[in-house]
Symmetry: C2
């Protein structure tokens, strides 16, 4: 019996008889010949069906093949440099498993809503396929990066007990006799874990019920969040820089073909080298004001402001020392500038916006308590978190990287909705 | 300046001056000597503080050190085979960062509720630490297994649009103008993805609102779910068997020390070799009835029944061909026994219960439609899923493995709540 192989293995079976199973991608031919492009998820191969080589019945059936029909072909692999993929399969036996009715997605233009309604089928298209292969590579690379540095994976919980920072952007669910909220970040839990393991990260979905329709927002998105004990802002920035370089290098090494399918300008990715520019918030404000005089010193950066700053650099830029007032209560303040937070945002180049936010955490019990009071937060809900400052507090820092924004940047896709298999937005919960 | 190192690196710095930062695990000594056991998340080292070697002030401060106080010590590493970890640090400088108040968790016995209330601190204990290190290894091994076989990671959505199989065990949330439900399994989405990529898996949290208090249930647990196109039940079982062997071998190779801390009988894990017994449901029933005559032929297996079956084997056992009536609507039926499903459950040895459920999926559009009607399911909600049988349907199969149950088995922990960093159960939503 012939070996069952995937299309990606074709080169290893030159001249041999094999069986390939897949779906019809395209079909041409005339008279005694059918040329069928078959995809199987690992690649595309041209199948040549010559009337004399297969049964009369099989040849007739092949005439009826439509896009996305499923088939199994046994034949001999030959090299054909003209063919896509570089190989050809000369069919000896063809088994038609299913003739598909007219496929809804054709090479003609479709509206985005139509494509999203058919996301379960759209995933078969070459560009969507390429984006998700790169997404996989990015996720794998970020995990490998931390694993290689001796970090421990500690999954943060999804259900959280209280709406610590207000309920406005939280998804709420009944939880037996009480309410639970879906996590927005695993950070506080990672701080606890860092005190147990030294270096930790979590990787999971996070949720924001924002009524936001921008191309940068999803209600459900994935984050990787490292946290390290005995770590300061500078070390945190080194860690983030190292991770981004590692991810970009890996994608360039392993996913050239997919970047090509996406027509990504890889020179832009090849420019991502150490060191990344590290600029103070005040410096960023100067760059912004030159182009957007309306910007108010002391405000957080909007999408346009981020684009202005990042346009000055050919690689990710790190902005530090934001006004503490626009950052979370747990941020440690600068000793030199007590109104500034020891924080960092990393903006992707080419206007893709913020991909990382992080910084050093306040490690002094009394200061943290007073911040909780200033922010009118319910102290009781934070008692366990305050314990971390009681029992052996140490300087520590960490960050969170949004996976989908990183995928959007590396793939060069303007809209984040294509960077996750089944996107969830304010208006989309299906399929 | 001395190198900052972790305790796990001590062996590489014999005779050299280094700085180690960590937490006090234990303290003894008398007169002119303090012996301090320090942990830093990578290991434990004995620090020797001799009065003449450090400042008077530092020596006095060390006298006040309590469990979980945080310190930074500079000194010289020497070998000491009597000491835990095999090395000793002869202190020259000591910086006390924080003196902890009396630590709530002491070596004496604590109730489980107390420990769970202090889960953020309990993570620092050596057994909990060991379990979570093994959890990390199991997760990494399962991902590596599929990555090495050319699978594509395709994250399934957490928010799902409709309560396809009834709302009783689902967590519900307001989703803007509609309702959303938290996923119980990514399988249906993986079937769509398998038609695009051939071989796929997802890895993420899943949710069940079961009012169950057993030691095997969590409301929030993690699953890995592979799905493969052109795959049948036999191949599916081979894949599952290969994965389990791969995971167990990896843990035995990399986490011996942690298994030792847990006092795990590793001979039980070493016995996990291919081939796993594969038995028909009817055969399982015979084994069960011999010990539990009340068992009704045709029923699903309960926890006790699973233990009876698994007690006959020294490795995981695969049970196939359950009555279709007790399995989900999408299971393909056996051609030889049309009332049986082409499904498989894998039971861990030693009574740890089901860790895997899976099987071949119904791939015929008409049959699937009639099953949906028989089960009184809303057809409209499944239209996208039915599309997979319209546009190039192919035989396919997959399974889901519960991470926490697998961790419980491999670590030899009877209760699943210790196998996840921050467990969520019917009665527990904190910390």
């Amino acid at each position: 019996m012939a070996n069952n192989i995937t299309i990606s293995q074709a080169a290893q079976y030159l001249g041999q008889e094999v069986t390939i199973s897949g779906w019809v991608y395209n079909k041409t031919g005339k008279g005694k010949l059918h040329f069928i492009m078959v995809r199987d998820g690992t690649g595309v191969i041209q199948v040549v069906i010559f009337k004399g080589n297969v049964t009369e019945e099989a040849f007739e059936k092949c005439a009826a093949l439509t896009q996305e029909s499923s088939i199994r072909i046994t034949g001999v692999i030959s090299e054909d440099l003209r063919a896509k993929g570089g190989h050809e399969l000369q069919a000896k036996e063809v088994e038609v498993l299913n003739i598909a009715p007219e496929y809804p997605i054709s090479p003609k233009e479709h509206g985005i809503e139509f494509l999203m309604d058919n996301r379960h089928l759209w995933l078969r298209s070459s560009k969507q396929h390429a984006i998700l292969k790169i997404r996989h590579e990015i996720i794998k690379a970020s995990r490998d990066y931390f694993d290689n540095l001796g970090f421990t994976l500690v999954d943060a919980p999804i259900f959280t007990p209280s709406a610590c920072e207000g309920t406005s952007n939280l998804f709420e669910t009944d939880y037996f006799d009480t309410k639970a909220y879906l996590t927005q970040s695993g950070q506080l839990y990672m701080e606890a874990a860092a005190m147990a393991f030294g270096k930790v990260y979590c990787f999971g979905p996070t949720f924001r019920a924002e009524k936001s329709k921008t191309r940068r927002h999803l209600t459900e998105f994935w984050m990787i969040e490292p946290e390290v004990a005995f770590f300061d802002l500078q070390q945190d920035m080194d860690l983030a820089e190292g991770m981004i370089i590692y991810i970009v290098d890996r994608v360039l090494e392993k996913r050239r073909q997919e970047l090509e399918i996406l027509e990504r300008d890889v020179s832009k990715l090849e420019a991502v080298k150490t060191p990344f520019p590290r600029i103070h918030y005040d410096e960023a404000v100067k760059l912004i004001k030159a182009e957007n005089p309306e910007f108010i010193d002391g405000d957080d950066l909007g999408g346009t402001d981020e684009t202005i700053v990042s346009s000055h650099f050919d690689r990710p830029v790190m902005i530090t020392h934001y006004p503490a007032a626009v950052k979370a209560f747990y941020m440690k303040r600068s000793a030199q500038q007590p109104d500034r937070a020891l924080c960092v945002d990393v903006l992707a180049p080419e206007g893709y916006g913020e991909i990382i936010g992080g910084g050093q955490r306040e490690d002094d019990l009394e200061i943290l308590l007073s911040r909780i009071r200033e922010h009118n937060l319910p102290q009781e809900a934070f008692n366990w978190y305050l314990d971390l400052r009681k029992y052996g507090t140490v300087p520590h820092a960490g960050f969170g990287m949004g996976i989908e924004r990183t995928v959007a940047w590396i793939c060069g896709r303007p809209h984040i909705r294509e960077t996750i298999p089944f996107p969830r937005t304010m208006y989309r919960l299906t399929p």
